[in-house]
Amino acid sequence: MQEQRQQPSLSLIDGNYLLYGDWTTAYLKQWLDLQPSIAAYSKELKIVTLAMDTNGAMAFLHIFGKQASNWPEGLTPTQQQLLRLVLKEGEESIPEPKSPNWLADLGFRFSQFWGHANQLLNFIGQLFTAFYTLLCNPRQFKPKLLFDVIQRDGLHAVPIIALLAFLLGAVIAWQGGLQLKTYGANVFIVELVALTHLRELGPLITAILVAGRSGSAYAAQLATMNINQEILALRSLGQNPFDWLILPKLLGLIITLPLLTLLADLTGLLGGSLVAHLQLEISPTLFWQRLSQEVSVSHFFIGMIKAPVFAIVIVSVGCMQGMLASGGADAVGERTTRSVVQAIFLVIIIDAVFSVIFSNTGW
């Protein structure tokens, strides 16, 4: 059975202005729209209504005012009672959120920034102490958690990293090959691909992918745990949350990121040699032969040495953002975003610093 609804309407019957309709939430808009025409006849109105709820009562008070003597006739006792209740409860003024002046705002921001810097230092300090305690007391180490990290953030990342590094190697060879071909210097494609990939792009693309894939997961996981008081629970059980949540990730990524970088190097070269074969008619045999003759192994090591540094950056940024989260669902999203942005930012900055150092020292 459908409930019968009464649309608000104002009509003139036998010289009386009758105001029909339900004073309910469904018709708030209609009532407020009727307000001007109601106001014109408010003295001689009669109300005909079956239903009233609190929202409707509020609209009624809006239209007819708070003086009960000004209310039109026709309300039932229950409806009058409801109106009085709403009147009583609705008296209080609505508090406006305080917006501080610009000076207070500046001060607040500065103290917040200072607080963040403090928290960062605090986190780094705790990380080092936890690491030191672990070295002194290796029995606290949790191998299962470490293997979990290696599997989830290392093994499961293999396909995507292999594919993307392969494509990147192929693209570099393609673009470089077009230029080299015009000079007839086809064979230098080997040095081009090997140097850019082994020194720079292999480690960089791996670190960026892992920061997006795992760093964000670390931040989201720790932020949620933090908000659910799970980290406090660990502390209360006499456990150091760093042992459980951060050190396994740190060690796991220090192990896996170089391995993933090695994989990226290999598939990148593979992609390069494929394009060299198709576009520049350099056979794979020639490619790998020239690679071993002309490209010093030091380029490979320069690339590899960056990987553990990137791992430390990704884990500390992700975990720190997670540990600092407070509030609700918003905080989780915000911290995750920040962790990815900061991790990628720092990875690229550090890569640039490495480049400058290595080229200045003649490597």
Partner: protein
């Protein structure tokens, strides 16, 4: 208006399953307009699940849910939205949106409901805050800044935003201290008396059962074993019901409850 002799909520032959675990089997329940019904039963008897089925948030594997005289299984999305607007639900943990303050939480459904002036929506939301007995100063606080008792009241305020006819509450007094729980019960009774409300609450709080409910549906053996007022339910001879009420806490709540009812 809906004729008063028709039940407001009617559950027919409800079967609910999670994998191979059957929670309800051919469960039947009628709830009349104006009732204050409590759903009780042991842990895992499917009280909260039943509540979310009434709220149309979960569909049972078999059976029909009739709300306000409308069968819900064939309804279009639009009709479902209309029906949901007539129901308010208070979740166990409050489920307030943590990124919005209390006032904004309550304004959200009102804002989406109709294009009303902002100041009017604010007034409506403020009214709800006052109705549930919260101080005006709580309005600009974020949910995570409120105490447990205040959060529960806030959740009720949001559930009442669109003036529903049916208010569903999942464990409203769980985790409250006795004084707050008792105040909360009073608030529910007051709301029920002043607004045209039907209450359905899932609860383990025996004091609440005696104070708030005038009907209790006991869930057990995948069925509603009995629907009766507390006085009758406590003398029911069904072994499961007997076991539920045969303990010292139940006896204490009973004496308190009868004392309150007489006073």
């Amino acid at each position: 208006m809906q004729s008063p002799n028709l039940p407001l909520v009617e559950l027919k032959n409800i079967t609910t399953q999670f994998g191979s675990q059957v929670v309800h089997q051919n469960l039947n329940l009628k709830i009349n307009r104006g009732e204050r019904l409590a759903l009780v039963g042991g842990s895992g008897s499917g009280k909260s699940v039943l509540l979310s089925e009434i709220a149309l948030l979960k569909t049972p594997q078999a059976g029909s849910v009739t709300l306000f005289g409308q069968a819900t299984d064939q309804l279009s999305t639009n009709h479902l939205i209309q029906l949901r607007k007539k129901m308010g639900i208070m979740f166990q943990q409050g489920a307030m949106f943590t990124s919005l303050n209390l006032l904004e939480n309550i304004m959200l459904p009102l804002r989406e409901h109709q294009r009303l002036p902002e100041s009017f929506i604010k007034e409506l939301a403020m009214l709800k805050i006052k109705l549930v007995g919260l101080a005006a100063s709580a309005a600009t606080k974020l949910p995570q800044e409120l105490s447990g008792g205040m959060l529960k009241r806030a959740a009720v305020a949001r559930a009442l935003a669109l003036d529903p006819n049916l208010l569903l509450l999942d464990e409203p007094t769980a985790g409250l201290d006795p004084a707050s729980a008792s105040d909360f019960d009073d608030m529910l009774l007051e709301l029920h008396a002043t607004l045209d409300l039907t209450l359905i609450l899932v609860t383990h709080d025996l004091d609440s059962l005696w104070r708030v409910s005038n009907q209790v549906a006991f869930l057990g053996d995948k069925q509603v074993l009995s629907k009766a007022p507390m006085e009758k339910l406590t003398v029911n001879s069904h072994p499961v019901i007997k076991h539920y009420f045969a303990n010292t806490r139940a006896a204490g709540a009973r004496t308190r409850g009868i004392g309150v009812n007489q006073g």
